[in-house]
Amino acid sequence: MTKKLLLNRVNIPGIKTYEVYRREGGYQSVEKALKMQTGDIVEEVKKSGLRGRGGAGFPTGLKWSFLAKPDGVARYLVCNADESEPGTFKDRYLMESIPHLLVEGMIVSSFALGSNVSYIYIRGEYDWVADILQVALDEAKQNGFLGKNILGSGFDCEIYLYRGAGAYICGEETALLESLEGKRGLPRIKPPFPAVKGVWGCPTVVNNVETICAIVPVINEGGEAYSKIGVGRSTGTKLISACGNINKPGVYEIDMTISVEEFIYSDEYCGGIANGKRLKACIPGGSSVPILPANLLLKTAKGEPRMMNYESLADGGFITGSSMGSGGFIVLDEDQCVVRHTYTISRFYHHESCGQCSPCREGTGWLEKIFHKIESGKGEMKDIDLLWDVQRRIEGNTICPFGDAASWPVAAAIRHFRDEFEWHVLNPEECLVRNYGLAHYADPLEVAVS
């Protein structure tokens, strides 16, 4: 049983209210942190090895230490609660069930970074979650954890909740800052990075909800203790939001030492593939990371079992590996069609492209149209190569990582499931009525049994 740091208190009745949360040990980290030096808090976070939970996995302590500190200029902390990656719903679960944890983490982080005004940018679709958070913020303020002179330490902090209008691109940190300033949510051209010039032109740190929540156990237990959980450079616990064809979809907190096989098949977590079917493929980190076929998902190219952590999931690069991403674990069983699945993803990225830079604006639409052609039985062999060519020229040539996010799933689908694409082209009528089934490789579990 994994030691839970974030979700250990979610089942306590009334944990959403301040009284219950405080009784269960809430806001202790604020009391502890306000007595520390700000530099020491950043050091603790560095020691903990905590990595950003939003997708890129950048070490949080390092990010904090990059924050420019010019005299007389305000600094800001912005919490990225614009969780719009398809397949990811961990932040929503955190904010819904234990909103005070985020507020507590925000206060500690704001103190460490010297931010007197902090923002929580929450996506527009989470309107009920925003209401829950607002209640939590108000309660925290009434009890003296927000506002002027918190707990007599002389530190002032206000946290504002800002609702987005429901654009995926506003989850990109610079687009989020633009949107926060009231402009069109278009990503900025970097450099300058937000740590130098962020919201309102001031140094800004943008962190994911889960990252900020994880600050609380880091402060409570100390960075050393936190870094001992997990393995290697993947320290602490990670929330995984599992969905797809599994028996028990939901948000699970893991300590990154378990294997992918255990995560999918053990009763503690996903509970196996639904309806007794076989595993075909899986996207381990939200829609934008490469899809992996079952054989590469359970074992790396070197034959070692793949573990649920940053390094192991990325083992083999994007050729035979994938990425931890934001922890949206989407499982596909043998009756799913990879072409249709990737078409859906492409349609999403076409719809959400902001239209600022040309490769992404035009390329994503083109990808979707080619997918539609193949999926509706009108495809030709050259279309598969064209898909590859189009995604190749989007990747890396755009302003923000959105272009990469739109092209990686396409590249991985063609790389691992080209036979399925070709089957669609060769059997235009059959592909409309039935699915391809398992790809032509050995089922790793059957091999193990026999």
């Binding site: 654009a167 239209g355 600022q356 639409g365 083109w366 064209l386 020229r393 890396g396 755009t398 302003i399």
Partner: protein, 395 residues
């Protein structure tokens, strides 16, 4: 070399672009450093406009490969960089035309820009001075692989002078920056998002402002065209003249485009990069009165013909051209000697200088020359063949 380094103040950065080293002031972008070297190494731009603050970075045509970041940190940059927004570092090594990656990416971007472009150049007023046309000639591929419906919009007249043809737009955002930076209020903006986004005035509100005409000048394609000049003439039939008048709103320094004595249109003066000239430290934007109202030669003091130095369809005609700068191609090739650039006379047996071609009957092949390398032998061979027509002798 060591003396040179001593003499340079530390504010100058040494940057190498396509094998050519240049020293530029701190804060210069890669694009501007390349422009200082010359048009052969300068990356193309569709959205960057030096006189407009904050432009650039959107079209991605100016992507270059940075082979070494700086002297301190000589690692190459993993991604291609937008040269218009990346500042040079000391010791940076940039590859533009020598980088296959950059050229390949550019080819892709031309393709992306063209998939939703109507390609109606034969009826487009911008044809001849269109950036997209130039870009496609230089970097595009023949034909398209796009086989789906192109996006179309209804033409819109915005105000009395400007027509918006959104179908042709490549969303460079320049016209929004003109409105933000030159006029008092911006009435147009981007509606929707992604490839459905369009530039429009909300409920087709007219653009009516003294400097709105400059949007026509900055538009790289034919999306914003001059209504008073629409379908009047093709740009390559017109003769440009530099002219000026006393104007209380703007600098009054313009280019007149005449055919005979008739002024067909008035534009601002352009520099070799197709951007508005900077005169006395200020960008020479012109007002709508100069642009649309003063269309008689008598309104203007003509200074002389405009010198056009733009690598474009427009300059292939009989305009007065500027003296071109020395060709930096030799330097850019790193001493490589591609087959096409060799002097044919040194490499081939054909076309020897010492042979008068006029005496050889019919087409000569290399064997004709190889067989008779010696001059006398050739003479003999020629005289044999020219038994009738023997009036001309070799010297």
């Amino acid at each position: 070399m060591s003396e040179e380094i001593k003499n340079t103040p530390p504010a100058l950065f040494t940057v190498t672009i396509d094998g050519i080293t240049i020293q530029v002031p701190r804060g210069t972008t890669i694009l501007n450093a390349a422009r200082m070297i010359g048009p052969h190494v300068a990356p193309p731009t569709m959205c960057y406009y030096s006189s407009l603050e904050g432009s650039g970075g959107k079209c991605r045509t100016c992507l270059v490969e940075v082979a070494a970041g700086s002297t301190k940190d000589p690692r190459p940059m993993p991604k291609l960089m937008a040269s218009c927004r990346t500042e040079v570092m000391d010791g940076m090594i940039v590859k533009n035309v020598t980088s296959e990656r950059a050229l390949d990416a550019r080819k892709g971007i031309v393709e992306y820009l063209l998939i939703n472009h109507p390609l109606d150049c034969p009826i487009c007023d911008q044809a001849g001075e269109c950036y997209l046309q130039d870009l496609s000639y230089d970097h595009g591929i023949v034909g398209t692989r796009y086989e789906f419906k192109r996006r179309t919009f209804v033409r819109e007249d915005i105000g009395p002078y400007i027509q918006l043809h959104m179908t042709r737009c490549i969303l460079c955002y320049r016209c929004l920056m003109v409105a933000d930076q030159l006029t008092n209020s911006r009435t147009q903006g981007i509606l929707l998002r992604g490839d459905a986004s369009e530039i429009s005035t909300y409920i087709s509100k007219a653009i009516d402002n003294d400097f709105s005409g400059n949007m026509i000048d900055v538009c790289p394609v034919g999306a914003l065209t001059d209504r008073t000049y629409r379908f009047k003439n093709r740009v390559w039939f017109l003769k440009p003249f530099d002219a000026h008048r006393d104007c209380d709103k703007c600098c009054g320094k313009v280019t007149l485009w005449n055919r005979g004595d008739e002024v067909f249109r008035v534009t601002s003066r352009k520099d070799p990069w197709g951007e508005v000239q900077v005169i006395d430290g200020k960008a020479a934007w012109i007002c709508n009165t100069c642009r649309f109202e003063k269309k008689r030669t008598s309104d203007w003091v003509i200074e002389g013909p405009t010198k056009i130095n733009r690598h474009s369809v427009i300059s292939t005609n009989h305009y007065v051209k500027e003296v071109t700068p020395p060709d930096p191609l030799d330097k850019a090739l790193f001493g490589r000697d591609p087959l096409l650039l060799m002097d044919i006379k040194e490499q081939s047996g054909v076309n020897k200088e010492n042979i008068d071609l006029s005496i050889i009957p019919g087409p000569a092949t290399s064997t004709t020359f190889e067989e008779h390398d010696e001059r006398k032998e050739i003479e003999e061979a020629v005289s044999e063949r020219l038994s009738i027509n023997n009036h001309k002798k070799l010297p």
